[in-house]
Amino acid sequence: MFLELKNLDFYYNKKKKYILNNFTLSMKNRKTLSILGESGSGKSTILRLIAGLEKPSSGKIFIDQQIMNGGNTFIPPENRKVGMVFQDYALFPHMTVYENINFGINDLSKDIRKNKITKILKLVELQEFKDKYPHQLSGGQQQRTALARAIVIEPKILLLDEPFSNLDTNLKHNIRKKLNNIISKINITTIIVSHDKHDALTLADELIILKDGEIVQKGKPQNVISIPKTKYIKGIVN
């Protein structure tokens, strides 16, 4: 398996209220997984644990058979090669589109960087916006800039946290298609956290439904959505 989360527990110290309880998940390489669940179900926490932004209370995380977490091992986020697109995109407001994308690869030589950024800009169709600042972009353009910045470092895994939550409903369909196109082209292991079934249907090979930090149903998106096991799942996928 390419990504393995083994018996992960995660709770906040103060109240010891579990966000994840003995959570286990595995994924094959170059597949796209969608995680659906209500707010507070623990779906964003899973992404943050994989990225190394949170330390699990116990359990292990492996990426490409390398241990990231477990025992005394903790690989910090800057050394994990995990690309993440945040819910608010987290674009650096003082940098242009080009500078934002350049940020993660500025240790490479100038020519290589230029080449990489040109390719990525073409992929995300932002060539003509490269000198714009984030506040001069539309929601969809901001999202693609954040995506370009995450994939230019050639991550092993791409994590997308509620990628469409900041967009208007009318735009979502179009942008979802564009995103699907980009993900298929780059062909890397991707996890998308969402609360919209359409994201899973358009983008994912596999879907899991999360409730209180536990997987309550898992399968092909079409199957899970057409045959929900419980009333709760029905509520989520309808």
Partner: protein
């Protein structure tokens, strides 16, 4: 026509009157420029002005730079890391602000001179004689040290507030892109906070230009000292006005540089949801290592000078009764209270007018209201003095009686000068309060048939209360510490804690000065504490 330029209600008329009063003293300075130059001015221009400009430039440039380095790094450390006593430092690092630089200057001179604690300790306990010139701080680098250590909180406060508002995901995304803490600070947070720290450093620079106490005590010639000298020692008002005008030009250049350095880019968040920064918890040695820097600054900027002042106060305990402390304290608190109340009332009137009237004339009220803070105290003092002398002679002329200098020898002149200088602080506080409240409640009330005044008292005022109290406390602290204006414009025999402490120190009666300085610091600390805890409560 009048409606078009904003005279549609009482608020506009009162605002205009206040604005005219703010502008008038500057007009006197401006007019003074065109008067024929005296011989003194020719001498100053030929031989001395160069020194004033050079010294003022060196002091402002290096104090600004070091304040940025200390203020920004401290603000970053307390926001990004959770270490030993980090919560205490968040508040304590503001405290050096309670010590006016002139008090700090004579305290450090006393600490470091031949009979001071440090040299005495080395001499008596370790038999080491330190070369006195090594510890002599009565020079330009020494003044830069004093200003930096007691004024950096301006940069710290503004940058700290900026970092608090930043989204955690900006840091997290940098980590996923392979960046370590130092690189994130250098490449992301530092450029991002440029507007904040440039704003803070500008306040520091304006404070340095305004200061009279430190440079006078250290014997450094600057614009402030030269204005005092030409006016009081040479009795040459004309040259003092010309010097003031030159200083105003310097201030103007600084404000233009500030505008340019802030940049015109809008560093707004690209989304609506912002998750605040979560400090990274440091354990063991790392936690203690991080403790060291803020602890050192707190020690130098607050604990050491306060401890020294306490020590001196104990020594001069027997003289305390002679100092007439109660009446001096009463004077200080009195002028500070009256000045702050007037500032807040005027700030409310102007800010509400600016909010309600959207015409061109009113738009400029806000700019004029904050103008005073950028004008150094000595300059305001000259403008206000000229204005009040003119008022007095007009009263004498109109009434046909020679009733003398009624206004220009009264406490009103001093309070009016405080009002001009510190209106900016009150106005900014009130204006941000209005911005937080928004216009929906106001508009709802107006559609329900209430007038602007009725709406203000019934709807706006209760919601504005936190901003008004914050503004009041901030202005009170500033007036309490104020020195140059008070020295020039106080009525005969009128003393505040600041003037008396400065006079004692200047007469080398350091121990007597310490008692008054200590009281001033204690009152300031109480006000700062009330302000910060009130703000915290307001957030909850």
């Amino acid at each position: 026509m009048l409606n078009k330029i904003g005279f549609n209600n009482k608020w506009s008329v009162i605002s205009l009157i206040i604005i005219i009063f703010i502008i008038l003293p500057s007009v006197f300075i401006f007019l003074g420029l065109f008067e024929q130059a005296s011989d003194n001015w020719v001498h100053i221009k030929t031989y001395l002005l160069k020194d004033y400009v050079f010294n003022s430039f060196i002091l402002t440039f290096f104090t600004g730079l070091f304040s940025i380095i200390i203020g920004v790094s401290l603000a970053w450390i307390v926001n990004a890391y959770d270490f030993k006593f980090s919560n205490f430092f968040k508040w304590a690092l503001i405290l050096p602000m309670a010590i006016p630089p002139y008090i700090g200057s004579y305290t450090y001179v006393g600490l470091l001179n031949y009979t001071g604690v440090i040299q005495t300790f080395f001499r008596n306990n370790l038999s080491i004689i330190i070369d006195p010139s090594l510890l002599n701080i009565m020079n330009l680098p020494g003044a830069i040290f004093i200003y930096t250590i007691f004024l950096y909180p301006y940069v710290y406060l503004i940058t700290n507030a900026f970092f608090k508002k930043q989204s955690a995901s900006i840091i997290e995304v940098s980590k996923t892109l392979g960046k370590g803490s130092f690189e994130i600070f250098l490449k992301v947070m530092l450029p991002l906070s440029r507007g904040a720290y440039v704003g803070g450093a500008t306040l520091v620079v304006l404070e340095v230009l305004n200061d009279y106490g430190v440079v006078k005590y250290f014997g450094i010639s600057t614009f402030s000292t030269s204005i005092f000298q030409t006016w009081f020692a040479l009795g040459d008002t004309n040259s003092a006005i010309k010097l003031s005008a030159s200083l105003m030009i310097l201030v103007f250049i600084i404000l233009v540089i500030e505008r340019i350095s802030r940049g015109d880019k809008k560093y707004n968040h690209s989304s609506r949801s912002v998750k605040p920064l979560k400090p990274y918890k440091l354990k063991g040695k790392k936690s203690w290592a991080m403790f060291f820097f803020p602890a050192a600054i707190f020690l130098i900027g607050f604990l050491v000078p306060v401890a020294q002042l306490i020590h001196w106060s104990i020594i001069s305990y027997g003289n305390i009764t002679k100092l007439n402390i109660i009446s001096i304290l009463f004077n200080s608190i009195g002028v500070s209270f009256i000045g702050s109340i007037l500032v807040i009332i005027a700030a409310v009137i102007i800010a509400n007018t600016v909010r309600v009237n959207k015409d061109i004339l009113t738009k400029n009220y806000a700019r004029i209201a904050i103008m005073g803070y950028s004008i150094p105290g000595a300059v305001i003092a000259i403008g206000v003095m000229m204005f009040f002398l003119k008022l007095d002679s007009s009263i004498n002329m109109v009434t046909n009686y020679d009733i003398g200098l009624i206004l220009s020898t009264s406490i009103f002149m001093l309070i009016f000068a405080y009002f001009i200088r510190f209106l900016a602080i009150g106005f900014n506080s009130v204006e941000s309060g209005f911005q937080k409240v928004g216009s929906n409640y106001f508009e709802a009330s107006r559609t329900l048939g209430k007038s602007i005044t009725e709406t203000f008292f019934k709807v706006d005022l209760p919601m504005l209360k936190p901003s008004l109290i914050s503004g009041f406390l901030l202005v009170s602290i500033e007036i309490l510490k104020e020195l140059p204006l008070t020295l020039i414009l106080r009525p005969f025999n009128f003393n505040t804690l600041a003037t008396r402490a400065f006079e004692y120190a200047n007469d080398e009666m350091i121990h007597e000065s310490a008692v008054l300085s200590l009281i001033l610091i204690i009152v300031s600390v109480i006000l700062i504490y009330t302000l910060t805890s009130y703000k915290k409560k307001g957030k909850r």
